[in-house]
């Protein structure tokens, strides 16, 4: 398979680069500042694209690669891949589900705990020497607080399972009620937000879920409520979130994703009731290796004409 051209769109995993290089003809897109020139010379030999949650395969890239057969993405969410275009052109698309579910759920619980118990602020308090001047304030208990989950897919369920061990009542919103679920269903995000203390975004980003967290939802969650986003930045109307946090209309937020990554609104940097992480929900050594193995497995299956491991299109 070493004649097959594989285009990696941005750096994502040194291990994956190494494994792809040993099997295919690997092009590192970020090493070519002159994208148009590069594509003119190499487009016909590129039969696969490997993208991430931050950069995938948009319509322009797909159009410029006439030999493209498969997009094997190094992420579970495919909002950076033009799925409609892929379908039209018969291009296969795979993602990396399941292997990252646990890590994402773990970080969601971590962000809840750290936002309520102010762990980052505690750490800053100690490191800046303030403890010697007086005790740190009281914080908010997590165990027993009501948790509302938007999107009860694999990740949403894994979050629910963990939160249950903290004695938290669970409710959820999704497009349709899950009949086999024991958790309480709300038919709208507003109703869910009005009835929970902690709201977690865990659904895929689509046209319908873009800005699913808007001003009305934030106000329904209220000044004691906490928003957790481990989905995608554009799930949240970010300027509305920032102003609600600054004005105290929302109690706090734990955010792993942002609308314009790697840019994060600077107004958040001065707030103690937010916890910010640089899109690391699936970023563990163990999981990134499992994701890379899945990308390689999908590519090998495709080029040896076997069934794909995790096909989406």
């Amino acid at each position: 398979m070493d004649a097959i051209g594989v285009l990696m769109v941005c750096p994502m995993s040194p291990y994956l680069e190494q494994e792809l290089e040993s099997r295919f003809k690997l092009f590192r897109f970020w090493n070519f500042p002159q994208k148009k020139e590069f594509l003119k010379v190499n487009s016909s030999s590129i039969r696969a694209v490997v993208g991430t949650a931050i950069a995938g395969a948009d319509a322009d890239l797909i159009e410029s690669l006439p030999s493209l057969e498969i997009v094997a993405n190094f992420s579970v969410g495919l909002d950076k891949v033009d799925l409609v275009k892929c379908k039209d052109k018969g291009i296969r698309v795979t993602n990396t589900p399941d292997v990252l579910t646990e890590d994402v759920a773990d970080l969601a619980i971590g962000l809840i705990l750290m936002t309520l118990r102010r762990v980052c602020e505690c750490d800053r308090y100690v490191r800046s020497g303030l403890w010697k001047k007086g005790d740190f304030k009281l914080t908010t208990k997590f165990s027993g607080k009501s948790v509302g989950i938007i999107g009860l897919g694999r990740i949403g369920l894994a979050i629910a399972k963990r939160a249950e061990a903290f004695g938290c009542p669970i409710s959820y919103y999704s497009r349709s009620q899950k009949l086999d679920s024991k958790y309480k269903y709300f038919p709208s995000v507003i109703e869910l937000a009005s009835n929970c203390a902690i709201l977690v975004v865990a659904c895929p980003l689509t046209d319908e879920t873009h800005h699913i967290i808007n001003r009305k939802v934030i106000d329904a969650l209220g000044p004691k409520g906490v928003l957790i986003n481990i989905g995608r930045g554009p799930h949240v109307d970010e300027p509305e979130l920032v102003s609600a946090l600054i004005e105290g209309r929302l109690g706090g937020a734990g955010l792993d994703v942002f609308e314009h990554e790697p840019e994060v609104p600077e107004q958040l940097f001065g707030l103690d009731n937010v916890v910010l992480t640089p899109h690391v929900a699936s970023a563990t050594v163990e999981t990134r290796k499992a994701m890379a193995d899945l990308v390689i497995g999908n590519l090998e299956a495709h080029f040896s004409k076997k069934p794909l491991l995790t096909p989406v299109v």
């Binding site: 750096p11 646990e102 980052c120 505690c122 100690v126 490191r127 208990k141 249950e164 640089p278």
Partner: protein, 328 residues
């Protein structure tokens, strides 16, 4: 019986001797019921002959927070039969003297357990997933400049050794199971009805763990139980979480191990010389530091007040005390 003397007549209210260090006030007067008569040595009227005559017969002492209760102090109150504590750990109380005098002692019971367990889990996730360091990375504006942030470590599959499987330790185990952590524990005795593997000694537990969580009582036996040998056994990738007491760990050794990279990381809520924290730790990204706040939520303090009042009432009613601790 003494209860004869405790009729509801205002002058005969049950006597509660308050023991506190000046800064630790806990606004106790606002929540202790008026059906007890409080005797506070920090009150100017305490030395009056009238109050002193009451002190000579007081049977119950309420110890607020971590106020040291030494044998000297206890000797001043020979009639005390019960010490009601208001913390989970009672390393500030001279328990040997209590034992010798037959004084019953109570602690905070379960009031703080859920919060302490939550905080231990938070510290573990924080250290393994590098959350606080990630937050610093973003606030410093480093994300656009540096791009990729170093990978963390997965919770699932990690072997977590819990030292002290009491109320807090059990709640930590319960919370970590759905994360896919493999739980084992060390305690003085193997617990009946607990299926997690029990290790007789901490060395063996450390050898077989990826992370150790300390939530046992500080006693002469557990002082510096986490020493050089235990940290060596835990290994270069190992993580230590402490929500117990600072002196459970040989802190100088811990700092040395962390600075040299001989253990993987630490999440610490308690220290040997609070509020002093070793400055060498301030530079490390694999360490999360918290100012002894694992149990500090309003909910926990309300629960604590209920436990304290329940113990006082049970004592004066000659009923079993809800959170009496075992003295050895």
């Amino acid at each position: 019986m003494a209860s004869e003397a405790q009729s509801s007549a205002p002058d005969n209210l049950p006597l509660v001797l308050i023991h506190r260090i000046p800064p630790f006030e806990l606004s106790f007067k606002s929540w202790l019921p008026t059906r007890f008569r409080l005797l506070d040595p920090l009150d100017p009227s305490f030395s009056s002959p009238q109050t002193q005559s009451l002190v000579s017969s007081v049977r119950l002492l309420l110890c607020l927070g971590p106020s040291p209760l030494t044998s000297d102090i206890l000797d001043r109150f020979p009639s005390v039969q019960c010490v009601v504590g208001s913390s989970a750990g009672l390393d500030h109380v001279d328990l040997a003297t209590c034992c010798r005098r037959g004084i019953t002692v109570t602690n905070a019971g379960d009031a703080f357990s859920a919060d302490a367990a939550d905080f231990a889990v938070a510290l573990l996730i924080d250290v393994l997933r590098r959350v606080s360091a990630g937050d610093r990375f973003i606030r410093a504006g480093s994300w656009p400049a540096k791009g990729q942030y170093p990978l963390g470590s997965k919770l699932g599959g990690k072997r977590v050794g819990i030292i002290g499987l009491g109320s807090i330790g059990s709640m930590i185990a319960k919370r970590l199971e759905p994360f896919g952590c493999i739980i084992a524990y060390n305690s003085r005795r193997k617990k009946p009805n607990v299926s997690f593997p029990h290790y007789e000694n901490v060395m063996d537990l450390a050898t077989n763990s990826d992370a150790l969580i300390l939530c046992c009582a500080l006693t002469n036996e557990t002082h510096h139980m986490i020493n050089k040998d235990v940290m060596t056994a835990l290994g270069k990738e190992g993580v230590i979480i402490n929500v117990g007491r600072g002196a459970l760990i040989d802190e100088k050794e811990l700092v040395r191990f962390l600075v040299k990279g001989d253990i993987g990381g630490a999440g610490l809520d308690v220290y040997e010389e609070e509020p002093e924290v070793p400055r060498e730790l301030f530079e490390l990204d694999n360490v999360v530091l918290s100012p002894h706040r694992a149990v500090a939520t309003p909910e926990a303090f309300v629960a604590l007040q209920e436990v304290v009042i329940a113990n006082i009432e049970a004592f004066f009613a000659n009923k079993p005390l809800p959170s009496q601790i075992e003295l050895e």
